[in-house]
Symmetry: C2
Subunit: 221 residues, 2 copies
DNA sequence: GGCCTATCAGACTGATCGTTCTCCCTCATT
DNA sequence: AATGAGGGAGAACGATCAGTCTGATAGGCC
């Protein structure tokens, strides 16, 4: 019965389970969704589910993995890369993509944030997985920052990610313009990170620190 | 028995219930805490709890109310006001207060964010209450922004709040330096909002140079 | 004293939780 | 024809959930 699709050796039942889990978990959270709801929506037998996933937690981990494939890779990163070619513009495009997302009627928020906050215990496998997928998003940002010639790419990516996460929470509150607000802040941050100006920890990538004047002049703040 | 009704101790049992709910809900979330746990920790009889709170949801609403009293008012706002007198410095002091918070061993995150994301339904009373308390924090920021002479105080407060919420989520991921990272971005935002520079919508109307020199020298670190 | 009210202690409800178990059906391979 | 694996349907497990009901105790007030 496992005729499956060409190279995806996934059984039909398993795929239906993951799809059902995705739709339910992403919109309602983990604790609010029982296995009965997943079984009903997937149309799969109870025992079949436990043949593919040893526990509900295993299904949650599979959901997070799918979320990264679908949301992070196939949607966010693909859309950002498609909208611009310049790394700086790609960084800013993140908030344009978010803007459309925030205005969808069934806005579900970031599952990695939701699930991570739902499992506060830092040692919990689900918390660790969600945090790891968030770090994956950060690494994408870090790559763009490095391409843009930003010196402290990691620190910059963490700041950029803070703006992204903050805007997502604001959107959850109901502020549909949260992405535009965050984008304005981000634009200032980007400009500041690329300019040889005020903060001494940030400097232009391929420039000799020869002109100490300009740095000293802007450092006083 | 209820001699109170004027000021403090409403009821000893009720107070113990709210305290127990505060400690459990703030660290573990709503769904993860059953009424049995609250009853056990408070040392109150089951029926006594249902005499003071008609349902668990009522207890959750009481918890959120207490959270605003204790966390927002008595801690965050008080600490911010205590650390600086200049409105600009007070805005930045938010992140200094957060910095200490993020480094506590039992960091519990923002209950308003946690609870709001745990109840995605925007019509749910608990979601609405949590969002309302978040708006309360924003109004505090808006007041400071207005005192600082920022033209679009509301938009500025929303941007500031995005940075705060983003840093809280980052701290939940384990980044203990999240407050410092957000503060740097915030400093740039504040500078930009006060300067008559690029954005024409921003202007410094009623600037109050209350010995800003001596303070600005030691504050920006 | 009697009355009222708050509290305590604990059994109990019906529903739901995640999980296990049993039985039957289908179908490709032997 | 026999085999075995994958799946479907559903009962049943023990635990926990939020919430109800009963009965006893204690103290303030008339």
């Amino acid at each position: 019965m496992i005729k499956d699709e060409q190279r995806g050796p996934v059984s039909d039942a398993r795929e239906r389970l993951v799809i059902a889990a995705y739709e339910l978990f992403s919109h309602q959270g983990i604790q609010a969704v029982g296995v009965d709801a997943i079984i009903e929506r997937s149309g799969v037998a109870r025992q079949t589910m436990y043949r593919h996933f040893a526990s509900k937690q295993d299904l949650v981990l599979a959901f997070l993995e799918r979320r990264e494939e679908v949301w992070t890779r196939k949607w966010l990163e693909t859309e950002v890369v498609r909208r611009a070619t310049d790394p700086q513009e790609r960084l800013l495009a993140v908030f344009d993509v978010f803007d459309g997302w925030f205005r969808t009627s069934d806005f579900e928020g970031c599952s990695f944030i939701n699930v991570m906050l739902e499992h506060p215990d830092r040692a919990h496998p689900v918390h660790r997985a969600a945090a790891a997928y968030l770090a994956g998003i950060r690494h994408f940002l870090e790559g763009l920052a490095r391409q843009a010639g930003i010196a402290d790419a990691e620190g910059f990516a963490r700041q950029w990610h803070i703006l992204m996460k903050g805007s997502i929470v604001a959107a959850g509150e109901g502020d549909q313009d949260a992405a535009l607000r965050a984008k304005k802040v981000a634009a200032g941050l980007l400009e500041h990170a690329l300019a040889p100006g005020q903060t001494p920890s940030v400097r232009p990538p391929t420039r000799k620190p020869r002109s100490a004047k300009t740095r000293a002049a802007g450092a006083a703040a």
